[in-house]
């Protein structure tokens, strides 16, 4: 077998950076003293983010009766967490412009898969009556960010990994053999670099069994189930089209009943279409 493409993780300078405004917003939202006006002031400095936010709050997705004209009003109407998750979502999509038509197709499918997981994690959180739905959405969206980096930098090796997984190999082992590191490790490093909250970092690091903790942390368990549901519904592609087994410990940790599946899957299909039309 050929030597792994990477001997160690790529240096942090080689990883993409989020726009400075989005990093500042993420930091400020972590600070309980931040007001809607503080947040609006930071967003308003960036014309692109301002335009995106206003377009979003005035869209049919929210369906407010009157036009929202200012950023402060937008922040108040949809909430801090929703602002962060939407700005993060749109900015992360911009970070990886496709370099070639062949790559573009794979990237689009992977993004669609990530978006599928994001709406899945939110729908699962709703069924569990959680109130951190936006954070769950972002966890689903970014869980495979390491795969996106690997696909952009090592397309041939990523294909080889997908082929091994399709043939039944466990993804982390296949990546270790072909690339010398895993998408989970690269994802964790990126998430730390972007100052994301620690439950999110841990979910990105550990969303495939065997999980880092036993029983798995709630975010890891939610993202694991969301990943399976997004694959079942064929929302994009995670690289291979296999539907992986549901980890019994993760399933127990969620304390859900199978009767919840119809509702979760139905809202995933609707939300995926609605949100996808903004991002694409």
């Amino acid at each position: 077998m050929a030597r792994p493409a990477l001997r160690r993780l790529p240096p942090i300078e080689d990883l993409p950076t989020l726009p400075r405004t989005v990093l500042r917003i993420t930091e400020r939202i972590n600070d309980p003293a931040t007001s809607a006006r503080d947040l609006a002031r930071i967003i308003a400095e960036d014309q692109v983010l301002t335009a995106r936010l206003l377009k979003l709050v005035n869209s049919s997705f929210y369906g407010f009766r009157r036009r929202i004209g200012t950023v402060t009003e937008a922040v108040l109407m949809i909430g801090f967490e929703a602002v962060r998750s939407h700005l993060l979502t749109t900015s992360v999509f911009d970070l990886f412009p496709p370099r070639s038509p062949a790559l573009r197709r794979g990237q689009e499918l992977l993004w669609d898969h990530s978006l599928g997981c994001a709406v899945g994690a939110k729908a699962i959180g709703t069924a569990m009556r959680r109130d951190n739905l936006e954070e769950l959405f972002v966890a689903g969206l970014l869980h495979d960010i390491g795969k996106i980096v690997l696909l952009a930098k090592f397309p041939a090796e990523s294909e080889e990994v997908a082929a091994r997984v399709a043939a039944g190999a466990a993804i982390l082992e296949a990546e270790e053999a072909v690339l010398g590191c895993t998408h989970a490790e690269i994802g964790r490093r990126l998430a730390e670099h972007w100052n994301l909250p620690s439950p999110l970092v841990r979910a990105i690091e550990s969303h495939h069994p065997p999980f880092a903790a036993e029983p798995p942390e709630e975010f890891s368990a939610v993202v694991h189930l969301a990943d399976i549901l997004a694959r079942v519904l064929e929302l994009g592609s995670g690289g291979d089209d296999r539907i992986p087994p549901l980890d019994p410990a993760a399933w127990r940790a969620l304390r859900l009943l199978p009767a919840a599946f119809d509702g979760i899957l139905a809202s995933m299909l609707t939300d995926f279409d609605d949100i996808g039309s903004f991002l694409r």
């Binding site: 573009r104 689009e108 039944g168 399976i228 549901l229 694959r231 079942v232 519904l233 089209d241 296999r242 539907i243 992986p244 087994p245 549901l246 399933w251 199978p258 599946f261 119809d262 899957l265 139905a266 299909l269 609707t270 279409d273 039309s277 694409r280």
Partner: protein
Amino acid sequence: MILSVDELEPGMILKEAVRTHQDQLLLEAGRRITARSIRVFKTWGIRRVAVRPPGEKAGAASSPPMPEDEDGILRRLKARSGQAAEDPVLKEILRAAARQIRAHRGEEGR
């Protein structure tokens, strides 16, 4: 044939992929246009779209398989799950998914 977005009707099949001005993919070639996709095209300011002439079948290579009923969808999902499909919880997931995919497609076609 090239049609303006106003002339599109649900059920027509795309001859070429539809992309935004920024070159982001909205819908692949070979896919069936739905009422929702027409709304998305309008939102993105798409003006003209290439569709297959009526009567021409969707090419097998470019269009994804469209199973008619719930059972067909379920069979395909089970095949993709392999051994995992024996798990009682995953079985429930696949059954619910087949129901919801079917219902969602029905809604889109309207």
